[in-house]
């Protein structure tokens, strides 16, 4: 008989945590009876959520129904109110072991208290960078490092054929993820006849860069305007300067870009050294000057660009998003 796994968090095709949950359900559906517990009432009518759980042995339920369906182990992923709502305490009082994956670089409300009270049996970190940030809080708690898994099938490799060279980025429209000089950064790369594409853009970002005049070469899209895979497949280069002081805990959109064959150019630090081999499956740049040199080289050399893109896609498929390796890591992490 399969063990019972309760997953807390809403799966969908949009957003980092939601897509992670969607892909985990798919990955683990043959190993567990899975109950997916969501907080709001509208989820059962959300087709995106419903489609994400349409597997035999997977049920979508409201959080309040947990006590009617006790589980052996509960996995909560990046649920903002998971500790403050009291649900973590509810789950564990019946003996269910709680595995928690925060996924962010900051602690959630009530998280530290819950750890002190012993509610978290095991914590999952997505990278060493993230683990380091939580070193003190999780001292003495069992830990596992499991990088995120992105289902490669959702991001097929696409050979670039567009006549207009496009660089861009995909991320939350959070201003802290963008450097102070973002539009100048792109425009100073010195590319001719280029299109700059950004998703997601927001009113907050517009205000942040109100001093800049965005010309017609800019294509600034609101969140979820275009499905991530489609958006990324329209980019030649994924150029990803980050906000000054911001630390990326993993780098989902970078891996998604790689899967589609988009060449990633990322800043030094963060978790990017774990994601790519510099010069083979992407480029890690220590300064604007390095971003510029690499961008111009790739702009002028289509064959090289396509080759690195293919290598990035291969690396992402076989190393970063190896389905069986991830399944084994999760099975171990969810077994007590």
């Amino acid at each position: 008989m399969k063990r019972k796994l309760a997953v807390f968090g809403a799966p969908s095709s949009v957003g980092g945590a939601a897509t992670k949950i969607r892909d985990l359900i798919r990955l683990l559906r043959f190993d567990f009876d899975i109950g997916v517990y969501v907080a709001g009432n509208g989820f059962s009518k959300n087709q995106d959520v419903v489609r994400s759980v349409e597997y035999e042995g997977v049920a979508l339920r409201h959080r309040s129904q947990f006590d009617k369906h006790p589980a052996d182990v509960a996995l909560a992923v990046c649920e903002l109110d998971f500790f403050s709502s009291g649900i973590a305490a509810e789950i564990t009082k019946g003996g269910t072991r709680l595995v928690w994956s925060n996924d962010m670089m900051w602690e959630f409300k009530g998280e530290a208290e819950a750890v002190r009270e012993g509610l978290v049996s095991r914590v999952i970190f997505v990278s060493d960078v993230q683990r380091t940030a939580f070193l003190d809080m999780y001292m003495g708690i069992e830990q596992r490092l499991i990088p995120n898994y992105v289902a490669p099938g959702s991001f097929p490799l696409v050979e670039r054929k567009s006549s207009t060279f496009a660089i861009g980025r995909l991320s939350r429209p959070d201003p802290v993820k963008y450097p102070k000089d973002f539009p100048v950064f792109y425009e100073s790369l010195g590319l001719e006849d280029v299109c700059y594409r950004v998703q997601a853009w927001s009113e907050e970002l517009r205000k942040k860069y109100a001093w800049h005049r965005f010309g017609p070469e800019w294509n600034l899209l609101p969140a979820n305007k275009i499905p991530a895979a489609e958006f990324l497949s329209q980019l030649d280069l994924f150029v990803y300067p980050l906000g000054n002081g911001f630390v990326e805990s993993w780098g989902r959109s970078t891996v998604e870009a790689m899967l589609t064959g988009c060449v990633p150019l990322v800043p030094r630090g963060h978790n990017f050294e774990q994601m790519m081999l510099h010069g083979e499956s992407g480029f890690i740049c220590g300064s604007f000057a390095e971003f510029k040199v690499v961008t111009q080289e790739l702009f002028g050399n289509r064959a090289l660009r396509l080759q690195i893109g293919r290598q990035a896609a291969h690396h992402a498929r076989t190393v970063l998003c190896n389905e069986e390796e991830h399944r084994m890591m999760w099975l171990e992490a969810l077994t007590f």
């Binding site: 102070k180 539009p183 100048v184 100073s188 001093w211 002081g245 300064s287 604007f288 000057a289």
Partner: protein, 266 residues
Amino acid sequence: MEAKYCYWSVATGPYAAWMERCAASAQAAGVSKEFHVLADQEIAGCECYDAMDVDLRDGMARFVYLKAAISKLHFDHYVWVDADTVFTRNPDRLLGTLGRGPIHVPLGERVDHLPEDASLRGLSPVRYHELMRKAGVYNQIHASRSAFWIVKRAAVDVVCELAKHHYAITKTCGEAPHGDAALGYAMQMLCGDPQAHLASRRPDLWWSDESGEFAAPDPLADGWDPRMPSAPRTQAAPPALVHMPVRRRREMSGSAVAVEAVPALG
């Protein structure tokens, strides 16, 4: 439509005379742009405003003047010149130095290439570098002054915010903050490509005569000797704007005003 700009500065006490010479040199060189100056007296050739009693010592007052006064003037860009600057001709493509960015401060040497015992407004290069990194500069860090710089009107707020941020970090770290570093920080956070803003990229535009070679009694009659050790070497004509801090210090020390008593603006 062509962007509009004006020159501006702060010139109180003995600096007023220098500002007058600066504006006169501009006029003689065919510059038709306006000069707006925070001052404590009328200065010929300049539109003057009451500088009031603002402490100028740490170099941060310029951000207060910029935000509270100068940015109310209807220009697209504001070009700061130190009072001890002379125009040798009307500068060409002045706003071109901005590139795509909202600010231009001529950048000097990389700080990690400076001798260990160099002083950047009282900070060692290592400490200067540390503070810039701590405040978030990602690229190689360059030294800079504030004798000549340009800011886009729409970016005045963000420049002032960044300057204040650097000031606060420097102070928190137990060092004496200064407006030069704060301005250099704002510049290096907003410029995209620092290489495009190196002073050496525009030898025709601006040069600071740090060794006093360009300091004969009448700067406009001095002529230009490209063999001078610190002169830009790529051209036969002098830069359009020449900053003359050494000459200013020499003249001031010869007058009744002690150099140390004069607020450092450049």
